[in-house]
Assembly symmetry: C2
Homo-oligomer: 251 residues x 2
């Protein structure tokens, strides 16, 4: 089983869109996938047409409820969800006062090896307690990177945080890969950012890039992954390609 944190403190770069659609693509390729919504915005939960209900991730992290009681099916074969909602913010406050909070998610997810081949963690746009919990629980980080200036600026900070977590809390943590998102091949900006990222991070950058494609933004309002909403669109093609490249890398 691999646990992958989908993280980037820059907002709106495609973390949730990647978590939902890479998850669904891996599930379509017959892999058992669990998507954990670690962002109190609850976008991964809502984007799959679900409500958090109870128990959810808050109860798992705060009250020690068994993870199996909070996991729900999504209706999409091989893709399950551990949902959350705004209440998850409470964990940020509670963790600030506790010792040993860093490994709470890691401990909750232990023992799911037999049930899932991949667990994806959708992280919030910050480097706070919830994202750190995700980085400690993960084997690797998948970094969605919007091909724009502010997103590029924030990359060094994210890499520094990953290095700190690896040194102090999770020796196995590595950058599994950087995925270029919202790529618009008609603009110099996208191409310039791509060139700089590939020059700097080399083979850690996925060959597959995700184009800007309105169908990806429409699918969540229908409560389903893009593979279900419009399998022929460029967004669906990109995430299937990304899933195949991901599997090639972890094999």
């Amino acid at each position: 089983m691999s646990v992958v944190a989908i993280a980037n403190q820059k907002g709106g770069v495609g973390k949730t869109t990647t978590a939902i659609n890479l998850g669904a693509a891996l599930a379509a390729l017959e892999h058992r996938v669990l998507l954990v919504d670690c962002d109190p915005q609850g976008n991964a939960t809502r984007g799959l047409g679900q409500q958090a209900g109870s128990p959810n991730l808050y109860h798992v992290l705060s009250d020690g409820v068994a993870v199996g009681e909070a996991i729900r099916s999504t209706g999409f074969p091989n893709l399950d969800l551990l949902p959350c909602d705004r209440d998850l913010v409470g964990v940020e406050v509670e963790f600030a006062r506790q010792e040993g909070w860093q490994t709470r998610l890691q401990q909750s997810l232990a023992g799911l090896d037999q049930e899932y081949s991949t667990i994806l963690l959708d992280c919030p746009p910050s480097l706070g307690h919830l994202t750190v919990n995700g980085l400690v629980a993960a084997d690797a980080v998948l970094v969605p990177l919007q091909c724009e200036y502010f997103a590029l600026e924030g990359l060094s900070e994210l890499v520094a945080t990953i290095d700190r977590v690896r040194a102090a809390l999770n020796r196995k943590l590595e950058i599994g890969g950087i995925v270029l998102t919202m790529f618009d091949d008609r603009t110099n900006l996208s191409r310039d950012v791509e060139e700089e990222v590939r020059r700097h991070f080399g083979p850690r950058v996925y060959r597959t890039t995700v184009p800007r494609n309105i169908r990806l933004a429409e699918a969540p309002s229908h409560g389903c992954p893009v593979l279900e909403y419009d399998i022929k669109c460029r967004g669906a093609e990109a995430y299937l390609g990304l899933a195949r490249e991901y599997l090639g890398r972890v094999a």
Copy 2:
């Protein structure tokens, strides 16, 4: 003097782009503007071609350094900057352990009435201590709203937070307006979101919408507002129109 918090916990909706370019447009219309970068990402600082240096906002909030010592000129007439960088994250941790932290920014900005007609606060993508500090210091909130599903989903949470801050900490706080950003009139998604937001929030939604315009995403890599980078583009036109509409509302 008006203090306006530019806030929305949804990531990547155009908070920083609105702070920089509305600020520059008001400055171009001969209003003295101070832009305060309240986001540890430091995007408003970098987007204006500046470095945080020292002292910066962290030192003002944490060590009580006088705000005047941290304010810098931007080179753009009538637009000054109170910069920050990653160190500002320290404030989130320190505030969690203190009483009365909510009014720290409000107190720091008091006494600037003679120098500026408008102070804009660029908030991070969260509803944590820094954003609450911004909401307590503000007279009104300007909410940039990306015309997409996840952004719409998060609006009720933001409104609830504003109501809580008004009731407990800042009686004068109101929603100054909602600005539709990254509007793409070729897509149904943008039009559907616009229709729903105008139906629900009525006159609180600015008539001016900001179109998706690549020049807005290019300008920060040149370290200047779009008015300086390409005054003839649709992005510059939109923010000048927004500035005029804003002035008409506060007059």
